[in-house]
Symmetry: C2
Subunit: 340 residues, 2 copies
Amino acid sequence: MIKAIEWCGDSIRFIDQTKLPTEEVYLKTCDYTVIADAIRKLKIRGAPLIGIAAAYGAALAAVHFREGNLNSFSQQILRAIDELGSTRPTAVNLFWALERMKKVLHNGTDIEQTRKSIIDEAIRIHKEDEEMCRRIGENGAKLIPQTAAILTHCNTGALATGGEGTAQSVITTAHRQGKSIKVYADETRPLLQGARLTTWELMKHGMDVTLITDNMAAFLMQQKKIDIAITGADRIAANGDVANKIGTYNLALIAKHHGVPFYVAAPTSTIDPSIPSGDKIPIEERHKEEVTQGFGKRTAPEGVNVYSPAFDVTPFNLISAIITDQDVYKPPFNFSKLKK
Amino acid sequence: MIKAIEWCGDSIRFIDQTKLPTEEVYLKTCDYTVIADAIRKLKIRGAPLIGIAAAYGAALAAVHFREGNLNSFSQQILRAIDELGSTRPTAVNLFWALERMKKVLHNGTDIEQTRKSIIDEAIRIHKEDEEMCRRIGENGAKLIPQTAAILTHCNTGALATGGEGTAQSVITTAHRQGKSIKVYADETRPLLQGARLTTWELMKHGMDVTLITDNMAAFLMQQKKIDIAITGADRIAANGDVANKIGTYNLALIAKHHGVPFYVAAPTSTIDPSIPSGDKIPIEERHKEEVTQGFGKRTAPEGVNVYSPAFDVTPFNLISAIITDQDVYKPPFNFSKLKK
């Protein structure tokens, strides 16, 4: 079992993801600023995991600030929360988790009770995420046949969440159920989360995993090497359109062409009924250096233009099912009954 | 005008492609073993260019071996040809060019005449390739509208041929004709020929070129940023199926889905009427290290399985036209009239 982050009572232990896959280094700290720095430097990454880490960071502050009255205690924790919140400007889970911590702080009546409530809330955020992963895994595994070759994109596993992941939880749950699973992980340019993290995690699980480059997937499907494709989601619109890591739309299109089921697995919180369709989802553009010199060596000319969208939008009609912790939705997608 | 290789009378000048795109280094040599080494170390790459370089290598040997009679001269040149031929085991153009040199050598009557004939034959091989590129460019440019955004894959330009290239010659010819061309070059994993070489060449031409990763192409087409996609070919079957750099089939599929014309440009010699369809074309598998540590740094776990086909096969029904030096073929493809 990979533990990307762990609360140790008065300290946090986490894996330094920037050292993966060549080194497996765990860091332990009592200092919330180390956690803030780790989030900033991508030692801790993956939207749900960032939220959990920030909550634990606030809990660390609560454990170690020991002087003054409730008011000065609260001021110190708020400063810590502010610093933790300033690390990744677009991480929704980060703000959401820290808002929960602020609320607990706001309701505090004395230092000891507040300290304990803050720690409990951080642990609760982690446990909820773990449970969400477990449910996605169980709901999704029902769609996986006894023997299957599954292609996945990006990293959606234990290194991104508080549990076993989203799409990847479906894969590892099916494996644990005794199904015969062969995984193809595409490398996921530009940041290579598939090559660096997904292969590492699945090898830790003792699973059969093969790395390919993103542009090989169509050829593999043509050769009937792939039975199922599954990815995570960053945001799901009311009609079932899915915004996810760049390359997802490409994969969904070629899966459709080859009759390969294309599944999306994500927490219920990813579904945003206020957005009618995918074309309304804003797409972040990334720094050109991630494409031109991402891996220690410049691989394109100085001054070259680069277009690097972080996400793409997959239209609902390419998606065979959306798996959440609550349910498995099949087209036509209708999320009106979902509990938020 | 980029000159990847140049015959200087008694020496060869060539660009060291392993230094691109960060350094533009030209090497000059009188020693054919330097050419053999340059081919072996990929300083000179691209199938047609390798053939030309090997022919010039044999010519260098002919210039500089000055002792003995015709028989000993021939023995020396044959040894040089053998060494040049041993550099890249699967390069068809290499053997084809060296066979032409052997034939000239075989027909030699005295040292001076043979030396001159060998040099002339090498220059002829180069000129023929240059002319072939020019014709492909002119034939293909007729298909390019006055304003076009063109997506291309891999490197098919001056760094791969004796002229302006194949698919890339279509692009640069259209540009020279005054058409308004915007190029998107995909990086072409695993070896990044698009990122390293195509962008560099097109920037040298003063063209508007933007680099993307391979998995972004579908998203660009969804946004209507691409009018035409064009690639080269390694081998074309009698029915029009095309074997080319891995990722070509992926691109052809998504182009078809978005109604983007998909063109293939290649010399007539690439068409192999003896192969009825693409599934009969053998596909080479590449070393896993090209995927796992292609960026100067290991980016996947030690011991991970990798599947890395060098080429894929695009079915003829995805191809809008095949452009050669002789003609532009449209579906249904019929090559029965081609002159070989």
